[in-house]
Amino acid sequence: MKYLITCVFMFWIVSLLSQNKEVLYGLEETPQAMLLNPGSRISYEYHFGVPLLSHIHVNGGSSGVSVYDIFQESSLDINTRISNKIFELENTDFFTATQQLEILNFGWKNKKNYYFSGGIYQEFDFILYFPKDLAILAWEGNANYIGKEFNLGEINVSGDLLTVYHFGVNKKINKKITVGVRAKLYSSMLSFSSTSNSGTFVTIPSESGDNIYDHIVSNATINVNTSGITSLSDLDTRTQVINKLLGRSFFGGNLGIGVDLGATYEINEKWTASASILDLGAIFHKKNIESYQVSGEYNLDGIELLFPPLGNGDSSLPYYEDLIDDIGAAFTIDTIYNSYIQMRPVKMYASVKYNFGQAIGGDKTCNCLKMGENQKYNQSIGFQYFSIIRPKGPQIAATLFYYHRLSDYFSVKATYTADSYSYSNVGLGLITNIKMVNFYIVADNLQWYSNLAKAKSVSLQFGFNIIIDKNE
């Protein structure tokens, strides 16, 4: 248990939360913005990402506790700090981690001004909701909680490792509207989830009066779905595991389909709105499936001795063995090999921005920044909305941002986000376009970069692309 707690806390350190990319959204200089809104405005002719280096994204955190909260140098005992946090956190608090590595990204504009783009990226996504009741039970036991129902349904965890193949098309259909759609093929390497659980455990004064208490497990149902995991346990070496996962990443795993939709609407010269919906799809788990279901209920009230008149050599009654057998019989454990469908975590972005600053345009004689034909001003401020559908409901973030194109080759975007983790998340994105080389780096929770331990979440994304604009 101690190792588990330590691992959870260290996890925040090495895997820097949610899938919100509030800084990258709307940064139309980078092709990766199309993955957040397939209806982004595109001002270049071709692009291709540097393989394995075009988008690296690590993101993780917790909604209610930071590493510093637990491991700070303090005269207060660490066990007291953990205990305080266990009671402070709610069962809606969560720990999450997301990692993405773009393997391939390319795009081109055809003669009819359709912009086609495609690529491959690998993604790991994990979320664990804090099982508060079970944490209290593990931390303090039940002795001081007579009558309290511990909710077994708080067990809620899921994780996925998958490869995503995508291809999209983007089109500016008139002066105001740009739309895009992206088809996705998911190849799941491994997946686990336990999200539909129920039941309670309670210790109450005995109702029958037979003994002092009744320890009652009621309507317990625990489901665990796995795919691609049990077959890995048969492998002996790490190399075999990696080779197996790589095989699945290339259409060898469980497949799924999805779609991204997006649009940008230029309301007028000053105002622009955009919105997108991502990962509207599902993975169909049919291979290497092993799911488990434990269900039952039991009332434990100790061992009743009957004092039978036994003769010499007679054995006593098998009270304890019968008790264990009864408990075992009360809970059925089924291993299920049926296929199942797993919905992808749907993400939504929406944005509205006000453009201002230095007027620019497409006229080559104009002493202005090369912003592409759509951009009229080199600065903007705006508001963004993000939500992601998680097992216990949507997680929402709201962002205020300021964007400034400082020159032809350098742009910055600063964000202030309120989300499930913090109401004061400051982010910054830097984008350069030097010749054809596009480099971007974005990060959030910058106010904690002097001491990441105090951050409840940290996100970092960066990458290199080659962008070709015939107008340059």
Partner: protein, 181 residues
Amino acid sequence: MKKKSHLIFLFTAVILLFTACVKDTDFDQSDDILLTPAIVLDFLFFNLGSENFTDIGVNNLVVSDTTFFDLLIEDFTIDNLIKADFYFKNTNSFSIQLNTQYQFLDENNDVYYEIIIPVNSGSLSNPVITEHIEIIEEGTIVNLTKADKVVVNVIAPSSLDNLDGILNLQSKTIYYLSLEQ
């Protein structure tokens, strides 16, 4: 010049982003993390009448029963149990005092811990409750975790052949655990 200053700004910002640090923390404190749950579980219970004595024989003064209790010798218990509080609630309607004896034995029937509780006499109309708390502390808890069965003896000082009554036992145990590295 402007381009140069932008590049310097970019370079500096990238360096800063990749040189974020973690400080004012002490991860060695993980060695001090200690889970100390107190788990209460029902223990034994019974209802004993005079027939339990007389079924064995006339003037029989002792009845016994035995149950295995492997919970005590599980590795998890041996490694983490630091204290156990046993609570016994005896309700006696026999008009004589009884003695109850709980012996914790290992597989060779060697006694590792013993609890003897004199139970006060009562009456059918007025059963008397005798409570007993046995606290087994760190020094002796190791004996408890060597025993895999419990023998319960109920001893009468004189024959119950012509006596009506019930001895009722209810009991619970609070197991204090200490889970550390």
